[in-house]
């Protein structure tokens, strides 16, 4: 009987690959690892690990309780490690997200609105963060969320810190 072990990563255990340059610059591949990025991030920092013009993928260290945020369009949260509670609230005033906003905006305190529900998501679970709602994340233990969104005012770009720049990966 064949037996295969599927290898996922986590904050505690990940094995990074890398770029072996033959005739190129390693920076062109913008190579990083979401667990390494999250392991060095502050809770709920939105660190871009992928950028495609206005679109980004953000690696977020989930730890404790985040502030409330409201997206300007649907966003999608994929839990890569840990267990994350996602609280959703239907905004009484969707105008808290100014017209023309990209990504999401932070909200002061708990916004006015109706409770929509809660999702408790673990590794591999993807949750819709719908436009018109606000969301708050909570994680009792450190976890990692990958967020599909647009670059916003709070998106952090620290490419030189997170990406491989040498022609070979670190041993």
């Amino acid at each position: 009987m064949e037996h295969h072990v599927t290898r996922f990563g986590s904050l505690q255990s990940y094995e990074k690959g890398g770029v072996e340059v033959i005739h190129d610059d390693a920076r062109n591949y913008v190579f990083s690892n979401v667990f390494e990025v999250a392991s060095k991030a502050r809770p709920y920092e939105k660190v871009a690990v992928g950028k495609n013009i206005e679109y980004v993928i953000e690696a977020i260290r989930a730890e404790g309780t985040s502030g409330w945020r409201a997206p300007a369009q649907d966003e999608f949260a994929l839990v890569m490690d840990g267990e994350v509670e996602i609280r959703l609230l239907k905004l009484d005033d969707p105008g808290v997200v100014p017209a023309g906003t990209q990504g999401s905006v932070p909200l002061a305190g708990t916004p006015a609105g109706r409770r929509m529900g809660v999702v408790r998501a673990r590794r591999g679970h993807m949750t819709l963060l719908p436009v018109g709602a606000a969301y708050q994340l909570h994680a009792a233990q450190p976890g990692v969320v990958l967020l599909q969104t647009l670059a916003g005012a709070d998106t952090i770009e620290r490419w030189a810190d997170i990406c491989q720049t040498a022609p070979r990966p670190k041993a």
Binding site: F8, G9, G17, G117, T127, T149
Partner: protein, 330 residues
């Protein structure tokens, strides 16, 4: 380059050859197969490909609607998508063919080349062969004509409008709807997120287990849309063995390795000169620049998130040089 061809009177021979297969014509190109090989002929040359590799590439080119940019079947033959028309080429992206003046390219309307390719795939795929399956999960493509496998080559391609599992959108995969867990992913947890929606919000509080969903994929190297953030498309896929095409980018594409390992060979898109090897393990993120072509190798079935920007203007912006081929500068 000739002008765009829109119609041909007959797309394939009526009588099969001695191996039982029909031959096909598309402009100046001729296609035929025997028990082991597909042969492609054009006015200045000819080329053989192993027929299993040819059918795997042909299957993906059709299923992906000719995809983003260039689909190289191998180092010689392939297609370029112009989103409404398609170039079929031989040697166009091979430095030696180009320098020798032996390359050839013709442009066809998408419906025409699709019709010919679909007819060829249907006629040349035997009952024993599934071009989407990994080599260990399918029978042989070789030998004389032996039935057909219409069900395998006309699979539904998942294109979520918002997110898989959202109301009215693409369904999650289960045993009951015909997607058992793959043999390489039997250890992948099948738990569901706990979704506690308040009354009236059942359609907006939605989540699903993406990793379990991928563990039940019955195909390999077939990116399919699971979530849509405007023009940002998450297109995860499960990979095993070798990517059957060498994908030439017409825009920046991103990979997030969700599980296991893939090695990528990266070459210059236009000449095929080797540029880099990229090893990706779980949690790794890498960009594929807009001026490269790449081919992946996955020794165990793995989960790969392919991230695409479907903005229609991108190919022109990159081709004109208005957009740099790499996504960020640092």
């Amino acid at each position: 380059m000739s002008s765009t061809t829109t119609a041909v009177p007959e797309i394939g021979s009526i009588e099969p050859n001695r191996h039982g297969y029909r031959s096909f014509a598309l402009g100046g190109f001729r296609f035929s197969r025997d028990e082991y090989f597909a042969e492609v002929r054009w006015p200045k040359g000819h080329h053989w490909l192993p027929v299993d590799a040819f059918l795997r590439a042909l299957q993906r080119d059709i299923a992906w609607g000719f995809f983003y940019g260039i689909v190289n079947f191998d180092a010689v033959v392939g297609t370029v998508n112009h989103y409404g028309s398609v170039d079929l080429f031989a040697g166009r992206f091979n430095d030696h063919y180009r320098k020798a003046g032996l390359d050839h390219s013709e442009r066809f309307t998408t419906p025409l080349i699709q019709r010919v390719f679909e007819a060829m795939l249907d006629d040349w795929t035997n009952a024993t062969f599934d071009p989407f399956a990994s080599p260990q999960e399918t029978g042989s493509a070789f030998g004389p004509k032996n039935g057909s496998n219409k069900e395998a080559i006309t699979r539904h391609r998942v294109t979520a409008r918002r997110m898989v599992g959202a109301p009215g959108d693409e369904p999650v995969r289960t045993d009951e709807n015909g997607f058992p867990v793959n043999r390489h992913f039997r250890d992948v947890p099948q738990d569901k997120p706990e979704v506690l929606a308040e009354p009236g919000f059942e359609d907006e509080v939605v989540a699903f287990n993406l990793f379990a969903y991928l563990s039940r994929s019955d195909v390999t190297w077939n990116p399919s849309i699971v979530s849509v953030c405007k023009a940002s498309l998450y297109c995860p896929t499960t990979e095993e063995y070798i990517l059957p095409v060498i994908h030439g980018n017409d825009r920046v594409e991103w990979f997030v390795q969700l599980s296991d390992e893939i090695q990528w060979e990266v070459e210059d898109r236009d000449t095929g000169a080797v540029r880099a090897r990229v090893t990706m393990r779980a949690g790794d993120v890498a960009a594929m620049p807009a001026d490269i072509r790449h081919r992946g190798f996955s020794p165990k079935r793995s989960m790969l998130l392919v991230w695409e920007n479907a903005t229609a203007e991108l190919p022109q912006l990159y081709a004109s040089g208005k957009m740099p081929p790499t996504p960020v500068a640092f």
